[in-house]
């Protein structure tokens, strides 16, 4: 970072892109985790209030790991994929849990 040459514009864009992935992408991933785990933990027999608390408390760790992942991997594309794929998967799981519950009720 202590280079005397001005930083290339592409570098700045990559940093901005990864920051967005870590902050907002990471938040979306954590939110999908919280929503999905709240529903699925209930299905393991955990009380509803405890399922929500467990899912929400752990979601902050998910966000943390996501942020670290984004800045640790070599390529920005992999960083984004590592956020988007699990987030989509969790969102699908949340939808599935809803659908199963709706069918049962």
């Amino acid at each position: 970072m202590n280079k005397k040459t001005p930083l290339p514009a592409t570098y700045r864009w990559l940093v901005a892109s990864r920051s967005v992935a870590a902050i907002f992408g990471g938040y979306l991933l954590a939110a999908a985790w919280a929503a999905s785990m709240s529903l699925w933990l209930q299905k393991t027999g955990m009380a509803r209030v405890d399922a929500v608390s467990t899912a929400t408390m752990s979601s902050f760790v998910v966000h943390l790991c996501a942020a670290i992942w984004v800045f640790a991997v070599a390529s920005t594309r992999r960083a984004w994929l590592g956020i988007a794929l699990p987030a989509a998967l969790l969102a699908a799981l949340a939808w599935l849990a809803r659908a199963v519950a709706g069918g049962a009720a």
């Binding site: 929400t56 408390m57 070599a74």
Partner: protein, 569 residues
């Protein structure tokens, strides 16, 4: 992240992440840490800022204090539906009374409060002040903005802190070796060592305080679990989490089907209509003389709880048939219950124990959350633990401050090479001074104004807070116009002077000074004065260090040195 996009190790990329998450929200985090650390003495600050309360000195006999206070309530609010009395303890000199009139508005709005003299039961009129609550609220909601917005800003900063801490741990793989490494008077190296040492020294505290901070704000920051599992009814989730039945005001039944029996007892007896008041078996009997009836009840409680004093007395339906008195133990035996403590409910007419409500047994999930959040707030911590938390907070504040300074120091060679100070560097430098010492100055000014503003002044509490922000602004301006080294030094001296004189100001403006509070055993007032002296000593030590370092430099007068000196406080 490397500009040339060559591969790099995880430690380098984490170092990069650590620096940038740290500097972006470092100032806000410093303010959160600083005011949060002071909030470990919230009760003490509140007490100090109302010197009128210092004159209340409880006698040795708690039962006598309770009797006097109940007699006082009889004069103050004979027609109330409930009385709640917090008895004096090591952090509180008075009896804090609150009551709810019949047909009072729900929640806090319907609750009236007063401080009673512990020896006489008379109401004490204290000055108007937000006290320590301003610093406490500022610590997680900031000021002059919507509460939710403030919580989001602090929450985002906390998340950054969490990332900064964990990436810092990854960066410093030789973390314990570094803890024992300190190379003083080596410029940048020393700052790095100081930053590492303060970080590692209290690492468990930092992780606990940051993670639990997120948990405390999770209702705002991460509502999506409750949103999905409760179909958008967040309130129902919050009620269940606190162990209350949703919509529980009207009926005890409701949605008891979910969630097992854990933590279902109403946690907060105060202010809420207790369960005891419904029985009418005393109908027709004359009202009970509670001041007399409380003495044997207190004796029974002492026999039941040899390790705990009585902390709170709740009287339901005073002066009406079927009066009940609930005694609650002071302090809890467990952090997992979020401080729930043992209770005894008496029938006031007979003086017999009517109910022994069981302590809640929290589920694993709520026990986990309770341990973290109770530890964060120092709930029910004794004096030793409270001082340890305070000192950990000081270390954490120092960690953020040294990190901020390190950012500037690290860029000193770059500056020298350029032959000028880039605007960004100067901005960080000025803000560092204006925040690190400026906030301490503002807090000192806040305490001074509490004693110097006229007691009868209109909008007094608001002007104490305005003074806080004006002093802070003045510190920022001062940092901008003075050379950085001089600004650091002058502000440190000012902070040390402001804080060291507070224990002197205290008795001169109506409070109990140390010569009175120590013999009377008023631990809360003594604790505040000592905390202020500790802060004064810390800033005085820094100031002395800066002055000493200046002297040989001035004598030697080397032309190469001052450039570096300018940025190295």
């Amino acid at each position: 992240m490397r500009p040339d996009s060559k591969p790099e190790g995880i430690r380098q990329s984490m170092s990069w992440l650590h620096t940038w998450t740290g500097i972006v929200l470092g100032w806000l985090l410093y303010a959160v840490f600083f005011t949060g650390t002071l909030s470990y003495f919230l009760d003490e600050v509140n007490l100090w800022m109302k010197p009128e309360l210092h004159a209340s000195v409880p006698g040795a006999d708690a039962a006598q204090t309770a009797a006097v206070a109940l007699a006082g309530m009889q004069k103050l609010a004979p027609n109330a539906g409930t009385w709640t009395l917090e008895l004096p303890n090591e952090r509180q000199t008075t009896v804090s009374a609150s009551w709810r009139d019949r047909n009072a508005a729900a929640g806090r709005a319907g609750t009236k409060r007063a401080e009673l003299d512990a020896a006489t039961g008379a109401k004490i009129e204290a000055r108007e002040t937000r006290g320590g609550s301003f610093l406490y609220r500022f610590h997680f909601e900031l000021h002059a903005m919507d509460r939710v917005t403030g919580r989001w800003i602090v929450g985002i900063a906390t998340m950054f802190m969490f990332v900064a801490i964990i990436s810092g741990v990854i960066t410093h793989k030789k973390i314990f070796a570094e803890f024992f490494t300190f190379r003083p008077r080596k410029g940048q190296r020393s700052w790095l060592d100081a930053h590492n040492a303060t970080a590692v020294l209290a690492l468990p505290f930092h992780i606990m305080i940051t993670f639990s901070g997120l948990l405390l704000l999770m209702g705002t920051l991460m509502p999506w679990g409750a949103e999905s599992a409760y179909g958008g009814d967040r309130q129902a989730y919050n009620m269940e989490r606190r162990g209350m039945v949703p919509g529980g005001q009207q009926g005890q039944q409701g949605q008891q089907d979910q969630g097992g029996g854990a933590g279902r007892e109403g946690r907060e007896g105060g202010g809420r209509e207790g369960r005891g008041g419904r029985s009418r078996d005393g109908a027709g009997a004359p009202p009970v003389d509670l001041a007399a009836a409380i003495v044997p009840m207190m004796a029974q409680a002492r026999a039941e709880w040899p390790d705990h004093a009585v902390g709170r007395i709740t009287v339901n339906r005073p002066n009406k048939p079927g009066t009940t008195v609930e005694l609650r133990a002071h302090g809890s035996d467990s952090l997992t219950t979020r401080g729930a403590s043992a209770r005894l409910v008496f029938d006031a007419a007979t003086g017999k124990i009517k109910e022994r409500p069981p302590l809640p047994t929290p589920s694993a999930a709520s026990a986990f959350g309770n341990v973290f959040t109770s530890a964060h707030m120092g709930r029910f911590a004794g004096p030793t633990v409270r001082w340890l938390l305070f000192l950990s907070g000081v270390v954490g504040t120092a960690m953020v401050a040294t990190g901020l300074v390190l950012w500037v120091v690290k860029r000193a060679p770059e500056r020298r090479k350029l032959g000028r100070t880039p605007f960004g560097h100067r901005l960080v430098e000025v803000t560092n001074i204006g925040v690190v010492t400026g906030l301490a100055l503002a807090t000192g000014a806040y305490f001074w104004l509490n004693r110097l503003l006229p007691v009868a002044m209109a909008e007094r509490a608001a002007w104490e807070i305005n003074g806080f922000f004006l002093a802070w602004l003045a510190a920022l301006v001062h940092a901008a116009v003075r050379p950085p080294r001089a600004a650091w030094k002058e502000q440190c001296i000012a902070v040390a002077a402001l804080f060291v004189l507070l224990p002197v100001l205290n008795p001169l403006t109506g409070g109990h000074g140390l010569s009175t509070s120590i013999p009377l055993g008023q631990a809360g007032i003594v604790g505040f004065d000592f905390a202020m002296l500790a802060i004064a000593a810390l800033f005085g030590w820094i100031a002395r260090h800066l002055i000493r370092k200046d002297r040989p430099a001035a004598q030697a007068a080397q032309p190469a040195q001052p450039v570096l000196k300018e940025v190295t406080p």
